[in-house]
């Protein structure tokens, strides 16, 4: 996936504590900030804690799928790992 960066100071601080906001910016680079999703994006499994994320990052899960898509598109992978023991509800 193209690393689409939008510099605008939207800088989303989502529920992914510590995730620098600029990583969230795969939004369309328009003068007006694109509205982040109010529902989980279809790329995220229904029972995965990251379904709670509203930053607009189009997560590609799990790793096998991330890599397969990266190989197909010849795009790099951006891996955000945490060590919280995230629960189903997104807490830790």
């Amino acid at each position: 996936m193209r690393l689409k960066i939008a510099l605008d100071t939207v800088l989303l601080v989502g529920r992914l504590v510590g995730l620098p906001a600029v990583l969230a910016l795969v939004l369309a680079p328009s003068i007006q900030a694109e509205e982040p999703p109010s529902k989980p994006l279809p790329t995220v499994p229904d029972d995965h804690p990251v379904r709670l994320d509203r930053t607009g990052i189009r997560w590609v899960l799990p790793y096998e799928r991330t890599q397969a898509t990266a190989r197909k598109t010849n795009h790099p992978m951006l891996i955000k790992a945490v060590a919280f023991g995230t629960t189903k509800s997104g807490c830790w």
Partner: protein, 258 residues
């Protein structure tokens, strides 16, 4: 391709394959009680391209992403789909990737002065940005945000209060109005504005930033960071968006500049 996963054993956000790859790069992450993982950028074969601290500044992240994208002709070239977008969007993307020259060329025309002003603002060429906005571009939002960037908070406040509720940039304007008020020493006013963004817009990019600012603004001067709580909403210490708290860096917009 962005992937999020949890190194913790048994977490529903776990990913054994991802953990194997990352632990091969940084063996410290294979065990228990690991340090805060970096953010890694890998090539499609799983080899490390670059990495940066989880706590890196926005500027560092942007520099990292620009470095990775800029190093690849395939990634940095404009795609067919991107070429169909508006001039403003195309120039912004060029600028974000680091190709300022191409970005400015796209918005050289008078009709694109708002898009040009935005890039100039980020380049911190405030006088040029003001000239680009001139008198005929009707954007109190852009004018106001520009003055926040330029640390002219009284001017910023005056402009941002004129952004109507139906303006597509109203949430952004309100957020920066809060920043301007905070920088003017009007912390309670600022907190009121940020609370208003959260109540009005709910889960929204500017609500997230407002929430971050709100929590950081509660820190006493010279004191430590505001403590976060896991004791639930009854404690009264949850953030406006119901977060337990914000770890990591402080909201950089609250750094005292004036």
């Amino acid at each position: 391709m962005p992937l999020y996963f949890d190194l913790g054993r048994g977490s529903p956000a776990g990913d054994a394959a991802a953990k194997k790859v990352i632990a091969a790069i940084d063996p410290r992450l294979a065990g228990q009680r690991v340090p805060t993982p970096d953010v890694f950028i890998l090539d499609p074969d799983g080899k490390l391209i670059d990495r940066t601290s989880n706590y890196a500044s926005e500027a560092k992240y942007l520099a990292l992403l620009r470095k990775v994208v800029g190093a690849s002709k395939a990634l940095s070239a404009e795609t067919e789909a991107e070429a169909k977008r508006s001039i403003a969007e195309r120039s912004w993307l060029r600028y974000c990737i680091g190709d300022t020259e191409a970005a400015m060329k796209l918005v050289a025309a008078e009709k694109d002065s708002l898009a040009r002003a935005r890039i100039l603002r980020w380049e911190r060429k405030f006088e040029d940005a003001r000239k680009a906005l001139g008198k005929h571009v009707d954007s109190f939002a852009e004018r106001g945000v520009l003055e926040v960037f330029a640390a002219k908070y009284a001017e910023a406040s005056a402009l941002l209060t004129k952004v109507g509720a139906k303006d597509p940039r109203h949430a952004e304007a309100q957020y920066f109005l809060g920043v301007a008020r905070f920088q003017q020493g009007k912390t309670k006013d600022a907190q009121g504005v940020w609370n208003g963004v959260i109540k009005t817009y709910g889960e929204n990019a500017w609500s997230y930033r407002s929430d971050w600012a709100l929590q950081n603004s509660k820190a006493k001067p010279g004191g430590g960071p505001v403590r976060f709580t896991t004791t639930g909403k009854k404690s009264g210490r949850n953030s406006g968006l119901g977060r337990h708290g914000y770890m990591g860096r402080k909201n950089p917009d609250l750094l005292r500049r004036s």
